[in-house]
């Protein structure tokens, strides 16, 4: 369902150009739980930004559910980000003046879901990720890091995306909390058959995922595949 074909991303910084991604190709199936491991600066965030259509690759194509997102118009890209992608960030990035519940409702609001349905679904999702109704009314500043990340996971699920992109979701959490977040994502990927790609520099996180890629200086290689699938094309 996701087929990445020979993508290269170059950045110009001053006179020199940096190749953040160098001829990367892979494909993954619906429902796969994928991790990408690599050192800082290796190109992990760049890869997620391209898949989430926040940026365009210098070369290559990214086909999601049969459509090449590198050729989409701006207005289609907004819909793509809204309906197909759920983003989870290392810094949680919740909107500070909105309650947990309102944060989760936000992407559904962009999609034009009715207010009643929004509230119900947001409550459902928050209960599912383990945020009880008293904490749902709190603003992010009154929630712990792990709780904030759970809220942000619930927010990412709002519009039933087909692809969840998580950029170092456990990077700011202690190892126990980090583990619980990964287990939660794993559970979600299994129960909803949602494709999840997490990016991490923590080798421990890779043991929960079906497939692991390693990225070094913008070059991608397969590290492990539980399902023993041929994923590099």
């Amino acid at each position: 369902m996701i087929k990445i074909d020979n993508i290269t991303k170059k950045f110009k910084s001053g006179d020199s150009t940096v190749k953040a991604l160098d001829n990367v190709s892979f494909s993954i199936n619906k429902g796969d739980f994928v991790s990408i491991i690599g050192k800082s600066g290796s190109g992990k965030t760049t890869l997620l930004a391209l898949m989430g259509a926040l940026e365009k690759p210098t070369e290559g194509s990214i086909v999601v559910d049969g459509e090449d997102i590198t050729k989409m118009s701006d207005s289609k890209l907004i819909k793509y980000r809204r309906d197909k992608i759920g983003f989870i960030f290392q810094q949680y990035n919740l909107i500070p003046n909105l309650t947990a519940l309102e944060n989760v409702m936000l992407p559904m609001e962009f999609a034009g879901v009715k207010i009643k349905d929004r509230i119900n679904r947001a409550k459902d999702l928050l209960n599912k990720v383990g945020i009880d109704s008293t904490k749902q009314k709190r603003k992010p500043s009154r929630l712990s890091g792990g709780e904030q990340q759970r809220v942000s996971i619930a927010r990412a699920l709002g519009n039933r995306p087909s692809l969840i992109l998580a950029d170092e979701p456990t990077g700011n959490l202690d190892s126990t909390t980090g583990k619980s977040i990964i287990t939660l994502l794993n559970k979600l990927s299994k129960s909803n058959n949602t494709t999840i790609i997490i990016v991490t520099h923590d080798i421990n996180m890779t043991k929960y995922t079906d497939i692991t890629f390693k990225i070094t200086d913008g070059k991608l290689s397969l590290a492990k595949s539980k399902k023993d699938k041929s994923v590099l094309s």
Binding site: T45, T46, L48, A49, G52, L54, E55, S75, I78, K79, R81, R82, D83, I85, G86, F87, F89, Q90, Q91, N93, I95, P96, N97, L98, L106, P107, E109, F110, A111, R155, A156, N159, D167
Partner: protein
């Protein structure tokens, strides 16, 4: 998103409150200036349409009692009366009488130091001579000369100006110095005149005068057919010039002087025009000031919330949705500001307008009187002309006479200026509309650049910035 925008106001209450206060002042000022502008504009067009369409004909080379030449005649006026575009012709005849047995009235004016000095200069070289000052009599053919703003009948009634009966309206000063009231009689040119009313003309000099139907004055003073001034009302300001040239060709420009009231009106309304401009600039200025405030605040907020904007974009918000959030935030601030501004506007529009108008017209009333005083002396550098015959000795009553003469020969500068006093802004339901309009203008002008900034925020940069 609109609701989020409104909620965002609470994120920094102190800042929001100060923005609202500043905006309310700027919107209030904009409203005051807008209402003043409208009121002044209306006044100007009223004045122009009510007075600006008159033409005054005087004998060539004379103004009032000053200057020489022959008076214009009823025959001449009849020649032009039926020219196209003329709505009305008002004739006046001026005469002066000396108090005495023929005219059993006391002049309300004391000669004073100036008068005595002048009489000595004239050759009556007797320091004890105390001259009595002549009384000015005006024959009128139309009520409009003694009606209008700033003029009021204090008792009695107006006479029929087209009659030739022996009735008169007397100025309040004549009435009090001679103990006359409506129904009493007095003598002019040995003719008994019945007081039909007492009038307050608004200026002291005009209150020293007597007003008779023009035919009556022509008869009793033996000036049949004579007219000092004819004031012609033209149906529209645009036709004034064509009427002037027609009159010139009928009567010959050597025999008469024609003054169009347009010049008088435009000099009289000059202060109004300048307040009008001031209020227009202030209106624009206060709208710009409000917009700049909103602009700076929005730029600040967009910068502050750059990360939030990037995140919103990454999770599927359109530029439009984010823009709406910011615009609704600033619009809410501006609307609250507008409500307070409307209150300020309603409370202060009239006081501010009348202060504006009064300060600038008071100086202009003075300067316009001084102006006429000087100019009629200029016309008549050799001093007063002493006409022969029945009109008797004519005093140069100084600046007062010029004032009076210019006020009836010109387009009643006094009338115009005193009408400034009752200028009012119209406060009605529309003020709400204007207030909201001001808020919208401010928000739209203030939002353009921030909206561009919003669209420039790159979500990829934001997520990499962690």
């Amino acid at each position: 998103m609109i609701l989020h925008g409104i909620k965002n106001i609470m994120r920094n209450t102190a800042r929001s409150i100060s923005i609202i206060l500043i905006l309310s002042v700027s919107i209030g000022l904009a409203l005051i200036m807008f209402l003043s502008y409208k009121a002044i504009n209306e006044k100007i067009s009223n004045i122009k349409s009510s007075i600006g369409n008159t033409i005054t004909i005087t004998p060539a080379g004379s103004q009032g009692f000053e200057g020489g030449g022959n008076p214009i005649t009823e025959t001449q006026v009849n020649e032009i009366k039926n020219l196209p575009n003329i709505v009305q012709v008002t004739e006046t005849l001026l005469a002066t009488v000396n108090p005495g047995s023929e005219n059993n009235l006391k002049s309300p004016i004391k000669a004073g130091t100036l008068g005595k000095r002048f009489v000595r200069f004239q050759g009556y070289n007797n320091p004890n001579f105390s001259p009595s000052v002549p009384i000015v009599i005006t024959g009128i053919s139309n009520e409009s000369t003694i009606t209008g703003e700033g003029i009021s009948l204090t008792s009695g009634k107006l006479f029929n100006p087209s009659s030739n009966s022996n009735v008169g309206i007397i100025g309040t000063n004549i009435a009090s110095s001679n103990n006359l009231k409506a129904g009493d009689t007095f003598k002019l040119y040995n003719t008994t005149i019945t007081v039909s009313g007492v009038i307050n003309m608004g200026t002291r000099f005009a209150n020293d005068g007597i007003y008779l139907p023009i035919s009556t004055l022509q008869n009793i003073s033996g000036q049949q057919n004579d007219i000092s001034t004819a004031t012609i009302t033209v149906n529209s300001i645009t036709n004034v010039n064509s009427v002037i040239s027609q009159i010139n060709s009928k009567l010959g420009s050597n025999n008469i002087d024609i003054t169009s009231s347009q010049a008088t009106v435009s000099s009289a309304i000059a202060p109004l025009e300048s307040i009008k401009n001031v209020s227009l600039y202030s209106l624009i200025g206060s709208l710009i000031a409000g917009s700049v405030i909103i602009l700076l605040i929005m730029i600040m907020t967009v910068r502050e919330r750059k990360k939030e904007i990037g995140v919103l974009k990454a999770i599927g918000a359109s530029n439009f949705a984010i823009t709406m959030e910011f615009v609704s935030e600033s619009l809410t601030l501006t609307i609250i500001g507008a409500i307070l501004g409307i209150i300020i506007g309603i409370l202060l529009a009239n006081p501010v307008l009348s202060t504006l108008v009064n300060t600038s017209t008071n100086t202009s009333i003075q300067s316009s009187f001084q102006g006429t005083g000087i100019s009629s002396r200029g016309v008549n550098p050799g001093g007063p002309i002493v006409p022969s015959g029945r009109r008797g000795i004519v005093f140069n009553i100084g600046r007062g006479a010029s004032r009076f003469i210019s006020s009836i020969t010109g387009a009643s500068t006094t009338k115009i200026l005193s009408s400034f006093k009752d200028i009012h802004t119209i406060i009605n339901f529309y003020i709400l509309l204007y207030g909201v309009l001001a808020a919208l203008i401010i928000t739209i002008l203030g939002s353009v650049i921030p909206v561009l900034l919003i669209s420039k925020v790159s979500p990829a940069e934001i997520i990499r910035g962690e």
